[in-house]
Symmetry: C2
Subunit: 268 residues, 2 copies
């Protein structure tokens, strides 16, 4: 069981990592992240227990979370603070009443991550996804359909940003992830590790619904608007999702769901 503490002073040094949450969302937390809400906390404790640092909880939620507390190691403190103290620590009204601080994992090299995956594997490669809703939505789909890893290019936002974690329903805490260095060549990397690069393109002649994927498939997803660079597109197998007249784009998170669903279930 963890240590339980009651916090009555918002300036209590023990809850320093929970202080002024929104301001520090912007500047980063040097190796730590904030997870919020009961659903995310449950996913965190289930999937990445070794990275839980401490919790800050509205005592009204205590009973509902007893099973979560019971699964925590002894060295993880659980701080309880009433709503007013909680709001004062966090710097905004925290209606979810559940916060956790976590430790970010050590960076992993994309090359090593890809090489170590099974002979049949699906990974997502995200290029320039800078919107936290979209990156969170993509992680949620990656977890739901059992994608083996996510590779981020240097222009993607942080999937361990508070809102991205929330939108991912905690999946950002568990899907194996590597980030490319700036200028690192994703096409070379995929070729060297035996992954076929698949890129969505409105001008592709092959249709997603008829696609028979390679055993190791990497789905490249770019931001709406700029999309994928011509260089990346030129070296990928392009597939299209035909759309109704006048419409030419899907949200990138929705696209990830449609592609992953096809890759997982299609018998073409």
């Amino acid at each position: 069981m963890p240590q339980f503490r009651v916090v009555t002073d918002p300036d209590d040094p023990a809850v320093a990592p929970f202080r002024a949450i929104k301001e520090r969302d912007l500047v980063g937390r040097e190796g730590l992240f904030i997870a919020e809400g009961e659903t995310v906390l449950r996913a965190f404790v289930r999937d990445a227990l070794e990275r839980v640092v401490s919790l800050l909880i509205d005592p009204k939620r205590r009973d509902k979370l007893e099973d979560v507390f019971a699964s925590l190691p002894e060295d993880v403190p659980v701080h309880f603070a009433d709503q007013a103290v909680l709001d004062s620590i966090a710097g905004f009204h925290l209606h979810r009443g559940v916060l956790a601080v976590g430790r970010k994992p050590q960076p992993v090299a994309a090359n090593a991550l890809l090489a170590g995956l099974p002979a049949r594997a699906v990974v997502l490669v995200l290029c320039g996804i800078a919107n936290h809703d979209n990156i969170g939505g993509i992680y949620r789909n990656a977890a739901a359909f059992g994608a083996d890893a996510v590779i981020l290019d240097a222009d993607c936002c942080d999937p361990l940003y508070r809102k991205a974690i929330r939108v991912s329903v905690g999946a950002a805490l568990s899907v194996p992830t590597a980030r490319l260095g700036r200028g690192e060549d994703i096409a070379d990397l995929l070729a060297n590790t035996g992954f076929e690069a698949l890129a969505l393109s409105p001008s592709a002649s092959e249709v997603l619904a008829r696609l028979k994927p390679a055993p190791r498939t990497a789905v490249l997803l770019g931001a709406e608007g700029p999309g994928l660079s011509p260089d990346v597109m030129a070296r990928a197998r392009t597939v299209g999702v035909p759309m109704a007249k006048g419409f030419d784009s899907l949200n990138v998170a929705t696209t990830s769901g449609i592609v992953l669903h096809h890759l997982r279930f299609a018998e073409v």
Copy 2:
């Protein structure tokens, strides 16, 4: 061509419908709605020109929008206001610089809308979707995959709310829509108009990827959390999207995209 006017006084009565936008988002606009941004404006003018009431534009955007202005009827005024005046009218910083006021369509009876659709048709039936991001995302997918109509129950939020229109990339302005009265029985309505009701359920024995749909199919989508009522589920054909261990839900907008993609392209 429309009438062009320059607005220098934020209190000019001609721009009254654009005033205090966020406050009036909350209380409604009595038959009017606000559309914002160039992409949405282009969709609005292309798909629902007869419902455009007036525009308010940052003159810096004028050149880029000449083709849009040329397509407007004479009785639609285009107001130009510099950023500071624009912000003062709208009540917040309007970085998109493009606003339109539109007239909501007359309500249509769900029964008449469904009965009038072709023999092969796909509609979405939304039950208790109260989140504007989700409803906007669902409309975007409905338009992208050519769904024939959207039916809203009495608990859904307004798809013509400003943010929902934006997330839908304007699709909320063009997809035929009807709203059910409270207590109106959706299962009866679908049966009477020859639509098979399809409901997603984790416990279904039939899998979406193998589903061969009826000629007229209605996809029922409920809010995350509560989902669809047991009564609605009991009278629908249930299909499942199997998920990886530990994960049991997809975002509802993503789900709509996966289902519509299957219904449009699957050859089962």
